[in-house]
Symmetry: C3
Subunit: 265 residues, 3 copies
């Protein structure tokens, strides 16, 4: 199979950091390597944003894919550099929780190793750019077909960030906004399952942003009346608050962390 | 020939939507598939901007290229999902006019089919992300060498947006600004042909932005005096208003839709 | 070896210019060509920013790589279009100094030719987009395995921009900020070598931004106290001023060109 390494970083592309990663991967990887940009626009050092990004994107990729993740505020500190294998895909990342929501979604245990610089022939690491000096050489090694264990020794207890969970209350669920996308859609952590439960108890569900008025539930954007915030089931099976052809974020002023409630009527 | 699928979206890259498209394409496409980013920075839901982008970019690509276009404000509504073949290239897009200016430039009739989810084994479509759930699987199928007709039945009458046309007047042409680029250049819908006609009638052409002073005509940016808005023939054979080493948009405050006149002196 | 052409431009990706470059490369290049985005976010017409970008990124790439560089404020003027070979890599660019810092780092003389449009069968060049009409066809030719000399005649005396050099003073070195990255880190032109010299003379080095207080020297970001500007050796072996998990640019208000001094205590 053709070797593919994807990149998920908070580097932006105005600086030469992404280009350096690509140079190392092409210089050290197999001749047919393809490097695939997933994003370089993770907010600087926002490990949670990257964790949600990976949780959403990763299931679409085929077994054999190698994912290189560099959102690394603790670079140079004692945080471990790890490589993880799950469902036939491999992820190289700092052990700072960035993989945790992805791993929550994996059935069974994932294998993990701590990347050992000596195994890669890296004598001295830069203090600030392990993406270039450690993770990219490790990814290139895997792209040549090497087994995970050639990079270092098994480790367990990867850092896991808690996922913001919807809470069950007396009359339904209390959730929150976990992401605001480019269109201004407000993605919540309430899913189709909670909605189905509410609709089973009663034929109507009342969904509110904070203490606001109940939001109409629609099936798709185009069904929404203009200028009104509505709720629909988004592409990740999560409830999202949207405004047709406009930004729900701009209309409501809502932010990540704001509460959203779902109750049976 | 190697399979290539290009992407033109309004998704930005901070959200995981582009990554999801790539995952589906690599998971379902042939092993040697290459996915090529054209842009993810179309203004959110701006079908006209995407139509102009495609009109300009498309002629450069070789036959066999597959273009996946997801600028889709009507997702989930009754708008059709289509695949079109023209001049040996294939385009997958919502039938919302995004292909119309590209198709205006094709000699002869383009073939079009409506993508049938059942032909792709898609039982239930998400309400909000047909790019991932319908268009990308269809593109992957074509990338394996399938004929257009395997995706659905022939359709005609694709939605066509009117192109803003320059109007002939008593003393010349009235056009407008159709795009402002990153450099602040103001691209008009007046072309080399209208300019040639005006120069044939008289040896000088008077070009004005709105009711402004006549703008000097130069051959290239470097020929322009500093700090002055000038006119030249841009890379798409259209007249554009530019300021050397600076932004004509910032200097003039002009916007898409503002009038530009071309008269024989 | 697989043919790879990298792109470094100031085009952004909202306009169709990058897409046009890719179309030409895929249409004219070999079937297995891979086009690799390095950046399209160089500040518009900022040749110095591009020169520093290339200087930093280029050493990571393997021999055989073809780099297409289009930051070209003088397009259409008398500036030459050149192709340069150094250390087994080839660069196509306007002769405006954009390659100069890269070339400063090359041991030995680089070979250069002036690209002759006639050799590429280009009868008339657009006035504004030599990237599409001249450089991309030239890159595609090289990607097919052609020698540099097939594109034009040898030239010497490429335009070289002076690099901002640190100056030796009575008590140490005077340098300056040469780049501010996405994280707000302030990259200087003082290197590990100057720091080592200062530390050899005395066991402490005093580093100041302008006339500010001495900045603590740390080994990596995570070692820095929160909220304080510190100095460390960055990934290009240059001293950089940083704030842990925050922006040194925002904290200090510093800009490219601001002075940084390094003295033995």
């Amino acid at each position: 199979m053709r070797a593919r390494v994807t990149l998920t970083t908070d580097f932006g592309t105005r600086d030469p950091y992404v280009a350096q990663l690509k140079g190392v991967l092409y210089a050290r990887g197999p001749d047919d390597l393809e490097v695939v940009d997933l994003t370089h626009e993770i907010e600087a050092q926002n490990v949670r944003e990257a964790a949600l990004f990976l949780r959403t994107a990763w299931p679409q990729f085929p077994p054999g894919t190698i994912h290189l993740v560099v959102v690394d505020p603790g670079v140079g500190s004692a945080r471990r550099a790890v490589a993880v294998e799950a469902a036939g895909q491999r992820m190289l990342a700092p052990d700072n929780g960035v993989l945790s929501w992805l791993l929550d979604a994996v059935a069974g245990e994932a294998q993990a190793i701590e990347i050992d610089p000596a195994r890669l022939g890296v004598a001295t690491l830069s203090s600030t750019f392990h993406g270039r000096d450690l993770f990219a050489p490790a990814a290139a090694r895997l792209a040549h077909g090497a087994a995970l264990e050639t990079l270092g020794a098994r480790v367990t207890g990867l850092m896991r960030l808690p996922q913001p969970q919807a809470q069950r209350g007396p009359r339904g669920w209390q959730g929150e906004i976990i992401h605001v996308d480019r269109f201004g859609n407000l993605i919540t952590n309430l899913s189709r399952a909670e909605l189905a439960e509410a609709l089973q108890r009663n034929q109507q569900a009342i969904i509110r942003l904070g203490n606001g008025a109940p939001l109409p539930l629609v099936r798709w954007y185009a069904e929404a009346p203009a200028g009104i915030a509505v709720v629909l089931i988004g592409s990740s099976e999560l409830l999202e608050i949207a405004v047709r052809d406009a930004s729900a974020q701009a209309l409501t002023g809502a932010r990540v962390g704001d509460k959203v409630s779902l109750e049976s009527a």
